[in-house]
């Protein structure tokens, strides 16, 4: 505050011009903000992607909101969001806290954990498509009864197979976040607790976890908003199948628009996606003290 007061007059004379922010704002506006407007417009048109869009009133919205396919996709996306969060958060939290320890071997583990982050989503999908193959996959070839399932062919199993592969891809990233967060907790807290006789579990529960709550918020936000964008993995891994078992909202949008050439309907689905993303962020900001986290970040 004090520095701001001192320099305020100087800044007013010669603060950097808005012009400097303009290139970034323009680029972002052209490819993200204006498209949001266009997609709303397109959702009221009939368009096959080639000719000119024709006004169609609320037809697409009527279809989108009453179609079983889209409703199912929306429901599936929410379920996926919840299950993924429940699976990934505890694993990455525990792993992150674990590898934050000072021992050499833990640092080494963290090095290997990082590997999935380097592999492109398309490649990860291809790897697991083959690994989980009912004929030539790992479970089948090794004759492991538990693993020998038709993972991607059974509607119920396919959903959890996707959850697992997403976790495989993203747990390393969230582990990194928790590792970094844990390292920032002052060791004096643990020393004091140990002197008071608190065991490891008590320390984890009463020091580590409360101290990591901003990291939990950051990680969860990225995870939840990310759930709205898992397109490429599902597209390559299952194509949305079997049946509609893994047809999440982004994939539903892609298939409707770019495979069935119903861009208008696909635009309506896109608007639902944007709305879900914004709503989710607003909820997170409102209820988790995200804004406090910002200021703390700036202060550290």
């Amino acid at each position: 505050m004090s520095t701001a007061k001192v320099s305020a007059p100087a800044r007013q004379q010669g603060g950097p011009p808005f012009l400097m922010a303009l290139p970034a704002l323009l680029l972002f506006a052209v490819f993200a903000l204006i498209p949001m407007g266009i997609v709303v417009y397109l959702s009221f048109t009939r368009w096959d992607g080639l000719g000119a869009p024709a006004w169609a009133g609320t037809d697409n919205w009527h279809t989108a909101l009453t179609s079983d396919v889209t409703r199912h996709a929306l429901w599936l996306t929410l379920k996926f969001m919840l299950v993924s969060w429940l699976v990934q958060t505890p694993i990455s939290l525990l792993l992150g806290v674990f590898v934050a320890g000072k021992q050499r071997y833990r640092a080494l583990l963290a090095v290997f954990y990082f590997v999935p982050l380097l592999i492109s989503t398309a490649a990860i999908a291809i790897i697991f498509k083959n690994l989980l193959d009912p004929n030539f996959g790992l479970g089948a070839s090794l004759d492991l009864p538990l693993l020998d399932q038709n993972w991607l062919g059974d509607p119920e199993l396919a959903f959890y197979a996707v959850v697992f592969v997403i976790a495989w891809q993203f747990v390393p990233f969230h582990t990194l976040l928790y590792q970094a967060g844990t390292r920032q907790i002052p060791t004096s807290l643990y020393e004091a607790a140990a002197i008071d006789g608190a065991g490891r579990l008590a320390q984890f529960w009463h020091i580590t976890l409360p101290q990591l709550r901003y990291t939990v918020v950051t990680s969860s936000t990225l995870m939840l908003v990310g759930s709205l964008t898992y397109f490429d993995l599902v597209f390559v891994l299952t194509g949305g199948g079997p049946g509609y078992a893994t047809r999440l909202l982004p994939l539903d949008m892609y298939i409707t628009g770019f495979q069935s050439n119903e861009m208008g309907l696909a635009s309506a689905i896109s608007v639902i996606l944007v709305a879900a993303g914004l709503l989710l962020s607003l909820i997170v900001v409102r209820f988790s003290g995200f804004s406090q986290m910002r200021s703390q970040q700036a202060g550290v």
């Binding site: 520095t3 320099s7 100087a10 007013q12 010669g14 603060g15 400097m20 922010a21 970034a24 680029l27 972002f28 052209v30 490819f31 993200a32 204006i34 498209p35 266009i38 674990f98 290997f112 590997v115 592999i119 492109s120 989503t121 398309a122 490649a123 291809i126 790897i127 697991f128 083959n130 690994l131 030539f136 790992l138 070839s141 090794l142 495989w168 990194l176 976040l177 590792q179 970094a180 607790a193 140990a194 002197i195 008071d196 608190a198 009463h206 101290q211 990291t215 908003v225 709205l228 490429d232 390559v236 949008m253 892609y254 896109s270 996606l273 989710l280 962020s281 986290m293 700036a298 550290v300």
Partner: protein
């Protein structure tokens, strides 16, 4: 800050009655607490297996012959390893797609960095309402899923006669990297003390001088972070290349692996060789710059 002081004391006092006995041997107790964590070690090793078995399987399978794949134990080392699969991938134009990926990644990352750094500098140093408003736009922009705008982006790119060019991937990729890049840079630039700027101003420096010879060198760590993060994202991007390009010679690596898989459906060792080759460039960078890579990523999202 208030969080730092509250939680721990109250609980440890309430829960542990024998606290008076503890102070006699704190160092030994601490050492013991740090050393023995068998459930943690077990869980850590289990996850290591989950991470490494698929990777190991990919590598050994890519070295098998096509016939050898069907009757081999999938986790055994190949009896007579062959590089035939890798030759097949290299003959399918791998180096060309590698070059496309490099061009797209470098182009998008440089563009993002240049415009984001200017914006972040202006947002931190400026006072105008327009700049504050710009920052809010970027904050909100984080929540826009890029999938949701792909149809209009496709429409715009087609209208601009850019469809099926590498530039068609570069521009939207850069645009979607801007919000997070600006926010990370802003958070970092805020910590540069005003006094440094003031003393430069006293020497008669203008904004471009201060930006170039003060803000830029001081934000090196943050710049490394966002470079790595943005480059990884663009490099592995799939949706924009899938929708905004069409001809085989405009493919980038993720799309190449995908289409290669479609073409060679039954030649699994060759498909996995393509997976290995598409990952190799990043893996090589990782081996060389591991510390900065991990350090950069965690610093950017630290609490």
């Amino acid at each position: 800050m208030s969080a730092l002081s509250h939680a721990p004391q109250t609980d440890s006092e309430a829960r542990v009655p024998q606290s008076s006995a503890a102070p006699s041997t704190p160092p030994g107790r601490l050492a013991r607490l740090r050393r023995t964590n068998s459930p943690g070690t077990l869980g850590g090793l289990l996850w290591l297996l989950i991470v490494l078995i698929p990777v190991y399987w990919v590598v050994v399978t890519s070295l098998r012959s096509r016939e050898g794949f069907f009757d081999a134990n999938p986790l055994a080392l190949p009896t007579d390893p062959t590089l035939e699969n890798y030759r097949l991938v290299l003959d399918s134009g791998y180096t060309h797609f590698l070059w496309n990926s490099v061009v797209v990644t470098a182009g998008a990352t440089l563009l993002t960095l240049a415009v984001s750094f200017l914006a972040a500098y202006a947002i931190v140093r400026g006072t105008s309402r327009a700049l504050r408003w710009t920052f809010s736009v970027f904050l909100l922009g984080l929540a826009i899923p890029l999938q949701a705008t792909i149809i209009p982006v496709y429409y715009l790119i087609a209208k601009a006669q850019m469809y099926d060019t590498l530039g068609a991937i570069v521009l939207p990729s850069a645009a979607f990297a801007i919000p997070l890049t600006v926010i990370i840079l802003v958070n970092f630039l805020r910590d540069i003390p005003d006094e440094l700027y003031e003393s430069m101003r006293a020497d008669g420096a203008g904004h471009w001088r201060m930006l170039w010879s003060l803000a830029l060198p001081l934000s090196r760590p943050a710049l490394i972070t966002v470079t790595i993060y943005d480059a990884l994202n663009v490099w592995n991007g799939f949706l924009f290349p899938l929708i905004l390009t069409q001809s085989p010679d405009k493919r980038v690596l993720p799309l190449f692996v995908w289409s290669f898989q479609g073409e060679f459906t039954i030649n699994i060792p060759a498909i996995l060789a393509a997976v290995v080759l598409s990952t190799l460039p990043i893996l090589a960078l990782y081996v060389v710059g591991r510390r900065q890579l991990i350090g950069g990523l965690t610093a950017g999202f630290g609490k």
